[in-house]
Symmetry: C2
Subunit: 213 residues, 2 copies
């Protein structure tokens, strides 16, 4: 039977991930050794490397599941009728809450997502694409409501806002932003800047006023 082997492989993979989830959460990433992982999964150390190339890959696989869940959760809860800036804020703050739940996890994940190491960065791009899928309908609706320019490529809009999100999180990691509230305020500020533009407009006074309060 062709299935016996494959089935067992799935089980082993799952066992590794389960062990990883438990040990990483309990003792942290660095403090967990591959040997421990193997022992907890009931296999030999070497075997792990026929399922994952590196330790960090195990971590990433473990994160991606959670991330996908969080995305679904967030989109489900988002209210399509709110103004764009409010929706974006809710979404990105939701993700920040997830990332900041464990400082170390978030850092490893973000480092790998933003500046990936393994050649094609394919893994990171997949997750990114999930992002784009999630945001696109929100942007489309905002365009219909006249809250977003229609002459822009949505992928560039996504990139723009994601960049601001990353910068805000970076501010938190750098110790410039201390509390969740600091983060929310900075993000709000940057999003408003992005929507209104940095250059003065003819309706400049109105924009300046809106930004103040």
């Amino acid at each position: 039977m062709a299935g016996v082997r494959d089935q067992k492989k799935k089980q082993t993979r799952a066992a590794i991930l389960k062990a990883a989830m438990k040990l990483f959460s309990r003792q942290g990433y660095e403090q967990t050794s591959i040997d421990q992982l193997a022992q907890a999964a009931g296999i030999g150390k070497g075997t792990i490397y026929s399922y994952f190339h590196t330790k960090s890959e195990i971590f990433l696989a473990f994160c991606e599941e959670q991330l996908e869940f969080v995305y679904q959760e967030l989109t489900a809860r988002s209210n399509p009728k709110m103004p764009l800036r409010k929706q974006l804020l809710t979404l990105f703050m939701g993700e920040f809450r997830f990332v900041s739940r464990n400082r170390e996890f978030g850092r490893i994940l973000l480092r790998e997502m933003v500046f990936p190491k393994d050649f094609p960065g394919a893994r990171a791009r997949e997750v990114d694409d999930k992002y784009i899928e999630m945001l696109t309908p929100i942007f489309k609706r905002a365009q219909q409501r006249g809250e977003l320019r229609t002459d822009l490529e949505l992928i560039m809009v996504t990139g723009h806002l994601y960049a601001l999100y990353i910068m805000t999180v970076s501010g938190w990691y750098m110790g410039r932003l201390h509390t969740e509230e600091d983060v929310a305020m900075a993000m709000e500020f940057l999003f408003d800047q992005a929507l209104q533009g940095l250059a003065p407009t003819t309706a400049k006074e109105k924009a300046a006023h809106a930004a103040k309060k």
Copy 2:
């Protein structure tokens, strides 16, 4: 004499950095061991750790010198009379060229700068502040020329544009942008978006038109 010891410490530190510069450049960061570094610097392995906490700290120290030089170079060459977007492009592309000269170096540096590990992220913030110092006069002039809103905190403007720079570089590391030209185009696009704003304006037609060409 109080100086004998201190003087020697300076020398030793310099010797380590010199050895690091040579070996990292020649064989890469990962391929250079602390033992090699110690040998090249003519000291014992353990001694290195009384000058730097970790291997990556050596690398960072080595990078910071170079970065400072690059900043000075870039500001010296920048032409204060050019339009803001052009100046920004020149500046950030100059930095990208530096970062991309050695893919591995850039990645390590950026990872540490954007998502720092050691507690206060103080090192990263210093470099950041150099950035702000460098950009502030450019923004001030742009404001006088009416190219930049005057009702914004300059630090938020810096953060905004730096975020877009980081996102562009990330696109390069993720394999979405392949050549230097791809990077330049993406950056230009994002900067224009930031200046004009993502929301429609009353003078919307004009903005849309300008973005096209």
